[in-house]
Symmetry: C2
Subunit: 481 residues, 2 copies
Amino acid sequence: MVKEKVDVEYNKVTPEIAGELGTIFGEKNVLTEVEKMESYAYDERGKQFRHMPDVVVKAENEEQIAQLMKLANAEHIPVTPRGAGSGLAGAAVPLYGGIVLSLEKMNKILELDEINMVAVCEPGVVTNDLCKAVADKGLFYAGYPMSVESSYIGSNIATNAGGAKVIKYGSTRSHVLGLEVITPTGEKLSLGGKRRKETSGYSLLHLMIGSEGTLGIITKVIINLMPTPNATVDLLVPFGSFDDAVKASSNVIRTTKVYPVSMEFMDIFSVKTTVEHLNLPPLPAQDKAEAYLLFTLEGKNRDELDELAETAGTACLEMGALDVFVASTKTESEKVWNVRINTPAVVLEKWPHVLGGDVVVPRSETAEFIGRTKKILEKYSGVQISFYGHIGDGNIHPVLIDTANRTDKEWMEFSETIYEEVCLLGSQMGGTVSGEHGIGFAKKHVLGQSLGNYPISVMRGIKKVFDPDGILNPGKIFDLK
Amino acid sequence: MVKEKVDVEYNKVTPEIAGELGTIFGEKNVLTEVEKMESYAYDERGKQFRHMPDVVVKAENEEQIAQLMKLANAEHIPVTPRGAGSGLAGAAVPLYGGIVLSLEKMNKILELDEINMVAVCEPGVVTNDLCKAVADKGLFYAGYPMSVESSYIGSNIATNAGGAKVIKYGSTRSHVLGLEVITPTGEKLSLGGKRRKETSGYSLLHLMIGSEGTLGIITKVIINLMPTPNATVDLLVPFGSFDDAVKASSNVIRTTKVYPVSMEFMDIFSVKTTVEHLNLPPLPAQDKAEAYLLFTLEGKNRDELDELAETAGTACLEMGALDVFVASTKTESEKVWNVRINTPAVVLEKWPHVLGGDVVVPRSETAEFIGRTKKILEKYSGVQISFYGHIGDGNIHPVLIDTANRTDKEWMEFSETIYEEVCLLGSQMGGTVSGEHGIGFAKKHVLGQSLGNYPISVMRGIKKVFDPDGILNPGKIFDLK
């Protein structure tokens, strides 16, 4: 367990309060046994960062959540909302114990509205289930977090999830038209809607998006859909030089004006690790490559795709690519993406001590940022670094791996020191400390360093407007005091 | 002059304070003569809503603005930021006198960054100047307010301006990557940047967008650019029946899945008025049509455009269109758009008493909304209603025209009563009271009615976090007390 500076005093859930929760949610939706609560104590950031809640409740509707928040305020007990637990920054970890509010049962797609081209659903719908349901109607949801098969749509919104299609389609924020929210004091807010324009006061909708469950609990979402893009093609481009691959990532876009849906980066270490661990067939040129770029291009028809692939491929070859492999069938595409998608999980599984990063810089700065990050790492021993990520939008995941068998505590201190340096480097280069994973409690400290006092004091002031007693998800993004 | 409930007491600008302003801005940038200040007393909402400031200052850089805000707080004098004055809701009108801060001199495009595909500029750049400058680099700015030739880019952001390309590209909010802002207390905030992903605490960037100069003064903007769309074609589609045209607007998208860049609506009254007033050649079928739809379609090449035009045109004919006119040259397009773009100004010029509206409903509700708005108007006499607007995104501009020679005061009371009813109707139908013009002081009352107490109290709380003394643009969006 990691020690947190407890800056706020809360009450514990007494048996009486647990009884009241049973009345609100029904006995079957209230967990108090330690074994049953254990999996609600941590997220994908890792078990070593767990905190046990006093109780877990599973909501089935917004009224229950409003009642919960009124009770929690009256009793001064913290509430931590939780989606699928696929977050990487600890936003769903109940730092101060109290009540974990699981949204797993609010998982219905309520409406697919073809006239307005929107989907209306509960927050606990798995992202991929939404993607499939709208595809059946000939429509398209453009959000694509790498955790698409496990993450919930409400949590995508709470973290403004990014992923691999942000170059063309933007982060989750770009696709949210409306939200219904229960505030920390149990009020209901309806923000946005099926409408497509709005200048009606401050955008509480956009303030809510990315607030990591600290300003309100999302109970309903209205999501923008688009016509299905007609066709896509994937290009896998191995480079003999790591640096050439990095440089090509921004230069291809600049010189060709081909604007891909995705442009991913994988170093050879992450590729080999994933391929070997999962017993996959090797990627083309795996023996000669130092890094790969992976493009997805979208076009109206096969002719246009061929032209785009030719333009991008030729540019890559001129910039030092070893070859260009076109994955024109679904099977071929899946094979390639399989490696990229599984890398984070494989790395986490294979080594006990891993710190996965999430830094963004302007696209023009990726080469310089990666070079300077490597330089930082040269100061340290007993640590391996690997790079992968959404390089086309400047979002890099530098991953630190313990190669010196440190204790949990040693690794946490060691890795966080390095990682803060890397985050601040990104921030100083016109980037920011988190592109898509969020701040949670993992990056509170470095966010404060990166932004300085005034912006944090403004955020704290806004938090107080919604949550005067600091009941909802305290200790995330910034300390309350 | 309209009477406002003065809910906050402010001090006047004394000669001593005017002297201090001269020191900050230079004497040439401080206006105190009534004749020179007159054009800063109102916006496009109309001269009858004017309020004279005590002084007008023209900023040349952010340091001056920071000093101004510190002085204004110390002396308790309100500051009203002003762009081109092309707003329609009175956001730039100095309700409580004090200081008008004009951004007209901060009009430089600072950088066109082709690698990151962004433009960096000062807030006072005219939107169309930005569009032209980026087009010269083979890039594209997708924002397109109807006031593109006069409005400033900073003010587009302050009002989250909409316009005619929102169906495909979204409102101005979608195109803003970064802002630099001086807060009401004179602090500097750097929000976002050239980076394309961010989940680093609450989005103060998106909170600032659309806040109508009440939370901060925009001093620098970073705007997203795209590759230039390859080709467009415009379709002008006259309908013999007003209702058929309205119904076709949502049904064409639903049945064909053709997603236009623009889909505008013009009733025959607005078309004839504009054509006659400006001595333009009549639009095709002007003698038989009751309404027009105007499409802009975008495609990769001529073949794709032909196919899109064929699909959309055929669908319109099946839905009652009299004919479909394809404007395939730039001259033909301009001729048609000329009518649509000039309608608002012509209507304002031709009649002394006009109230231009801006209501949004979900696309599915446009026919019902327009029908019910007409019903509301039947209760009143001495008033003409005309409809035009961005019907493809559900944003309608119902325009009320005085046909009974009322006095200013009579018209204001009469028209606002009707208009509030229309706004609330839109709001009840899943829409909102302003899609793109903003709230200013014109719609404060109806916004409060539409949202209810709690959301307004949250906005007021947020305002206080940024502006504890209520110095920056008070009396806009909501009353401070």
